[in-house]
Symmetry: C2
């Protein structure tokens, strides 16, 4: 296996310069260390994915956990155990091709590097988990506005009181994202997102937040809070933060994830991975 | 773990007596050893599933294989390693709740019992894989006739020249089922089956069989051959025979599957597991 070290040899680029780039070109710039910022709004139309890297000894249980909780944990690709290479949704190296990572030891954040080559071990397995950026574009295309984009905030994320189906050492509540939807667009919002089971799919809950243990004022992870108008209904989708939160809570010796908002950009058009 | 031995204490039942039974009642009769025949046409409306049981040491690679080949290998449920219990799509014991099994050692069929309690080991993992019986009912409901049911044959199954994406020791060609569809019903057939990604989903090929290395006269596994009328188009779907064939070819020490046609009957209505 070739060891790739990310050394910045060319100047950083601005977000404006990245606009319209194909994911391959974008990942090259990221690999060169010239972009270490967030990926929201980049490579529009292409699916992005959450990253979790775990030791092989817990990979089977984690995979069973994801299979049992497909709404929050839709798996997009799994690497061969020991290999950091993505081969299906892109040709890419997980050690260098994301702009920034979070490295955890014994459940504690220890580093947020832009390159994890020095952290890679031969017993690691990489998991890409679907991300809601994909279906958000479909919502916009269907004429359903996204409040957090309009207000330039991060989408609201909440930890519910709904338990995931456990598997081995992995257990915990479902994490959800919330978007306010106008009452007369509810049906369309369900239809549109149902087409994308690989990126969380249909909502897990519509309406009264208290029924899933959520107080709209109290978001997790410093995400946005939105004021609801009278004709706004809060709609909740499974969130890729779930497997991360669950893996973190299980206090695995070693885990690497993408840094929040700094996702893996695939070569797959979101529309190309829709179920129908 | 309670050891359940299947001892027949009541007389066998006829297939006619099983008609209209709920899956729970059907599995009880199967567990009592009173029905060891096929499951096609039973518990209509409920999803059935293929079974593969493998040692834990190959389970991770097998699961990665299935994730990479979702059309032929859609996973419906995975047991906790070491446990034969199904808890999500039914409350059931995989050792007793299927009418008949095939037991393989070193890639060779060694037994076809109606109970595998004596074969169970603490390192085994059970996989339920979606079965096309589910979407066949949806096709019928949409007014698309099924030739093999009309002619009382087994649906045609072929091994293609299309390689699956390999994972670890698991590699091999995709196995498909073929149903002739009238040209003017092609679009509807794609739409209807696309709704069921958990049971193979949309077709993998439409039309000229030679493009996927198939000679329609030469089926695999002694399945049916159908004469095509001029307005018939052969339509091919991923088949649950794929993971079995691939696992068999990889010569795993030990593997148990359902016997062909003797499937696991879930408590889930097919319509309830549709993507949309």
């Amino acid at each position: 296996m070739t060891i790739v070290t990310k050394v910045q040899q060319q100047p950083e680029v601005s977000k404006a310069e990245l606009e319209g780039l194909h994911p391959r070109e974008l990942r090259k710039i990221v690999r060169e260390g010239r972009w270490t910022g967030g990926t929201e709004g980049l490579a529009r139309g292409y699916a992005q994915a959450n990253l979790i890297i775990l030791p092989k000894e817990v990979a089977l249980d984690f995979l069973i956990f994801c299979q049992r909780n497909p709404k929050p944990c839709p798996i997009v690709e799994i690497t061969d155990p020991g290999s950091p290479m993505i081969t299906q949704v892109a040709n890419a190296d997980l050690r260098t091709d994301l702009p920034r990572y979070s490295v955890y030891k014994e459940g504690k954040l220890v580093d947020q590097p832009s390159d994890i080559t020095s952290y890679w071990r031969d017993d690691l397995v990489g998991f890409l988990i679907g991300c809601s950026y994909s279906f958000e574009e479909a919502l916009l295309n269907a004429g359903i506005p996204l409040r957090h984009q309009e207000e330039n905030k991060i989408v609201s994320v909440y930890t519910t009181n709904v338990p995931c189906v456990p598997a081995g050492r992995f257990a915990g509540p479902m994490v959800v994202s919330m978007r306010p939807v106008k009452r007369d667009q509810l049906v369309r919002a369900v239809q549109v997102t149902s087409r994308f089971p690989a990126t969380h799919g249909a909502p897990v809950h519509i309406g009264d937040p208290s029924l899933i243990g959520v107080d709209l004022e109290k978001t997790d992870f410093d995400t946005g809070v939105f004021e609801l108008a009278e004709d706004d209904v809060p709609v909740f989708w499974g969130c890729g933060g779930t497997p991360q939160a669950v893996a973190l809570a299980s206090k695995i010796d070693f885990m690497i994830t993408h840094k929040v908002g700094h996702l893996f950009v695939t070569d797959k058009l979101s529309e190309a991975i829709a179920a129908i």
